[in-house]
């Protein structure tokens, strides 16, 4: 569990990096520094962009706060009204099961980037109760974090190692059509976690995600 000290350190670190970023930007243009607009976007193999988001209880979560504790972090883009998310919470319990299997080593954060004008906005309130979700569901209603991670679908999964490097981005599994026999299914997130825990490189760092589109405003 994070201590207040850890939270403070995390917020301070986030603030410091934000200041540093601004300092780098202002006197010299981004292009002159060799940085592009994409500098903030998540890239497999690079440090995962930091963020602060509130969960449904109003509590703030900072990514670097978790990685600074040496935890693996999984980000799960979600929209409980999407049939593909429902598949993994109702027909199967893929997300909860994977989170539970590694709960001491992995911090699981669901993120909902649905914009406030969309029909699906707020669906996590009932889903958390109905589906018995115990990990935080972070609310990203202006879509800023989603766009930083280029989250396109729900679900869209990211795994960040304990050094804060993004090591996996893509689908939850290899079975978009839900047709494979159980022994042919591969849970890519579970696979990445297992490999990280064994000190191995992630063998499939990027896959094409499947699901409904994330409902950004613009």
């Amino acid at each position: 569990m994070r201590t207040k000290k850890g939270l403070f350190a995390g917020v301070l670190a986030a603030a410091a990096s934000a200041v540093a970023f601004v300092a780098v930007q202002s006197p010299v243009s981004a292009e002159q520094m060799g940085l592009s607009q994409d500098a903030q976007k998540a890239k497999v193999g690079s440090p995962a962009p930091d963020f602060v988001l509130k969960d449904t209880t109003g509590k703030e979560h900072t990514l670097s706060g978790y990685t600074s504790e040496g935890k693996i972090v999984v980000l799960e883009w979600t929209n409980p009204n999407c049939p593909y998310v429902k598949r993994h919470y109702e027909k199967y319990t893929t997300m909860k099961d994977t989170a539970a299997a590694y709960k001491d080593k992995v911090v699981w954060l669901a993120v909902n980037s649905t914009n406030p004008k969309h029909k699906d906005f707020g669906a996590e309130k009932d889903a958390i109760k109905q589906w018995g979700i115990e990990y935080p569901v972070l609310i990203d209603s202006d879509g800023k974090v989603g766009k930083m991670y280029e989250a396109k679908t729900t679900p869209h999964m990211y795994v960040i190692n304990s050094e804060g490097i993004l090591v996996y981005a893509g689908a939850i599994d290899n079975d978009a059509q839900d047709k494979l026999e159980a022994d042919k299914k591969v849970n890519y997130v579970k696979q990445a976690i297992e490999e990280l825990l064994k000190g191995e490189t992630v063998s499939q760092p990027e896959t094409k995600p499947y699901g409904c589109g994330v409902k950004y405003a613009s």
Partner: protein
């Protein structure tokens, strides 16, 4: 939800050698309610592996019907059937490559031994861009999917076979819901030496084929070229006013980068960047749809080997 079923109209098609064939009309299938199997086991498809889910929310926005080009299929030859997917206004279904989100229309066929249904012949979709740089490939209104049916020479002319299919789709407006339908229809087999009789739907097949992409070897595609400039696929077309490129799905071809920007141009040349995964690929595939200055539309299937080198020395 109602299920509307038209009966098959029998027509006797005699020839010197054989017995009857059957005319075939459209069969509407909204909700799956599988009919009992006929008594004869010959020509029956194997039973469905998984139960057909009923009352899926996506069934409210989609009607599926199946058509045959001719009233019979030739033993030892190939005939054509099609599935029409009609979508309520404001909703859409997806192409073979759904793009960033969504899921393609999928048909699982169940056919008797000696019958093979080949790959779907898809029309060209529309690009559908959503906030967050999400690009999908969709169909609105109606889409017709044509399938070749090949029949073994061992099936006796005069046999009636049953073709079964399970169609699944994701239909979306600003929300998405899944749907499914089961279809089954009888069709007769004729001798290969006999010519087929067209159904009233034959003209639909002809119209559709006129809008399918043509291969690069087709004389009408001579004006189109596709070459590599390092890792960029450069497609040019003489006299083009605008061009759009639709890559096939990740399963069959390396995927282009930045397709939202690079996949449509106003002009006669497009440069589509790929990454190193395209190097040495046997096939880089997609369809280019070109509107020429005279307003005519040309659709060409681009299927080229991947680039040899990333950077020319």
């Amino acid at each position: 939800m109602h299920q509307d079923r038209t009966g098959a109209r029998r027509c006797r098609c005699w020839n010197a050698l054989l017995t009857r064939g059957f005319a075939f009309l459209a069969v509407f299938a909204l909700l799956p309610a599988p009919m009992g199997f006929s008594q004869s086991t010959k020509g029956e498809p194997p039973a469905a592996v998984s139960p057909v889910p009923k009352n899926l929310p996506g069934n409210a926005y989609v009607k599926v019907r199946v058509m045959s080009e001719e009233t019979t299929l030739p033993a030892g030859g190939t005939g054509y059937i099609a599935i029409q997917v009609k979508v309520v206004d404001g909703w859409h279904v997806y192409w073979r490559n759904n793009g960033d989100s969504g899921a393609p229309v999928v048909v699982d066929w169940r056919v008797p031994e000696g019958v093979t249904i080949g790959e779907c012949q898809w029309p060209v979709p529309k690009r559908y861009a959503q906030p967050g740089d999400i690009l999908d490939y969709i169909f609105e209104g109606s889409v017709i999917l044509i399938f070749p049916v090949t029949v073994s020479a061992d099936i006796a002319p005069g046999t009636e076979i049953t073709i079964g299919g399970y169609v699944q789709w994701l239909v979306c407006s600003d929300v998405c819901v899944p749907g499914a339908a089961e279809i089954r229809f009888p069709i007769g087999i004729r001798s290969a030496s006999e010519s087929g009789k067209q159904t009233p739907f034959a003209k639909v097949f002809a119209e559709e084929r006129g809008q399918h992409p043509i291969p690069m070897t087709d004389p009408a595609a001579k004006i189109v070229s596709a070459t590599w400039d390092e890792l960029a696929l450069v497609i040019r077309c003489e006299g083009a006013k605008s061009m759009t490129f639709f890559p096939y799905e990740a399963f069959v071809t390396p995927q282009p980068k930045e397709i939202l920007k690079s996949g449509h141009v106003e002009g006669a040349e497009m440069k589509i960047p790929y990454d190193e995964k395209a190097l040495g690929a046997a096939h880089v595939v997609g369809v280019v749809e070109i509107t020429k200055s005279d307003g005519s539309i040309v659709r060409v299937l681009i299927d080229v080997p991947g680039p040899e080198k990333a950077v020319t020395e």
